[in-house]
Amino acid sequence: MSTAIAKPLALIAELTHRCPLHCVYCSNPLELQNRANELTTETWSRVFKEAAELGVMQADLTGGEPLARTDILELVRAARTAGLYVSLITSGMPLDETRLAKLIDAGLDHLQLSFQAAREETANEISGTKAHAQKLRVLDWLKQVRVAVTLNFVIHRSNIDQIEQMLALAESSSATRVEFANVQYYGWAFANRERLLPTRAQLDRSIETLKSAQDRLRGKIRIEYVVPDYYAKFPKPCMGGWGRKLMLITPTGEALPCHAAQIIPGLHFENVRNRSLQEIWETSEAFQKFRGEDWMQQPCKTCDRREQDFGGCRCQALLLAGDASATDPVCSLAPTRAKVDAILQAANTPSHPASSLNTADWLYRPNPT
């Protein structure tokens, strides 16, 4: 194990948990924070400066909906002035042409626009609100301005059969990058998993479609896709390895190694209100906890793949195996893989309840005040 701690590539700044959308797979925690507890403009500005000094290259401004912050222009400017590449990860809801122009003027490098589906009806059901038409307007405005654009589609059982239409939407836009990210099962998505997990046949078809689109659109649009790891043979290198590449700051200032880390019992998180980013990154208990290999159990400890996937995802290990230090149960070598296989078997039976459920069965995330 190398003793030098690598520098983080990106700072994921969750500026707020407020959001006009209620997506059933939201990556925010089940317990959402209110506006009153959010970090101030000044604190975020200091955090961006400290991040750049630490070696961070990119700031991903996200939420919730980052545009719910009335100081978003100042925050973009602060991150850009600090020398960071600034991305805005947005639903596009609180946006109009004037605000878009101001964001770009403030130094925005890249805008990632989320779509919940290609068909309006599906999109509105998943987001629990009428959001799709506004997103199409944003797509038009983006053609008129100079900013890098990514479209992000979160993929699941109800929209995986719309990938062709999603690709058509991307091709009609100014996006040079499209993400097809299958739902990862934590928090809200874990609660809604039964209705979200696609079938094996759906997944196979989608991969075939995406592979041929990658060839067809090479040099025009870069297509990235994430498969649902329940179907994978080996786990994902979650967050590029714990405390190796990414640092997430919650709306209230807690520094986390990943989106879901707060579910791990007994883990204490430092707050940027009273600790420097460098101190947190290099020495805090939470970032040290699963860094390197010392924490690993068998079969990870002696596995040839341990430097590729770092044992997979700690939160998934907790959720499915009941132990955050266990091998990620999606790994085919994990002693607990049978649990994942049982979930997949249920998702692939013809009598699966997802086909008979209705909108009322979703657990939607609320919008905190």
């Binding site: 990119q58 890249h110 040099g219």
Partner: protein, 64 residues
């Protein structure tokens, strides 16, 4: 680039530095042929074109 970064050194840095929206590909090639005057000019040209094509495939650059 969103969610990734290029590690640039030596010739790759020389090339990307010149992708400034003003120089043409032809100009970039000729400038680098002068810097790497000991190398075979045709080889310099092919290497640059290959590298730019790779960056374009990754959508790290746009050709105007």
């Amino acid at each position: 680039m969103p969610e990734r970064a290029l590690r640039l050194n030596g010739p790759s840095l020389e090339i990307v530095e010149r992708c400034d929206g003003k120089r043409s590909v032809r100009q970039i090639i000729s400038e680098l042929q002068q810097i790497y005057s000991k190398a075979e000019p045709k080889k310099v040209e092919t290497d640059i074109l290959d590298y730019l094509a790779r960056l374009n495939d990754q959508r790290a650059i746009d050709f105007a």
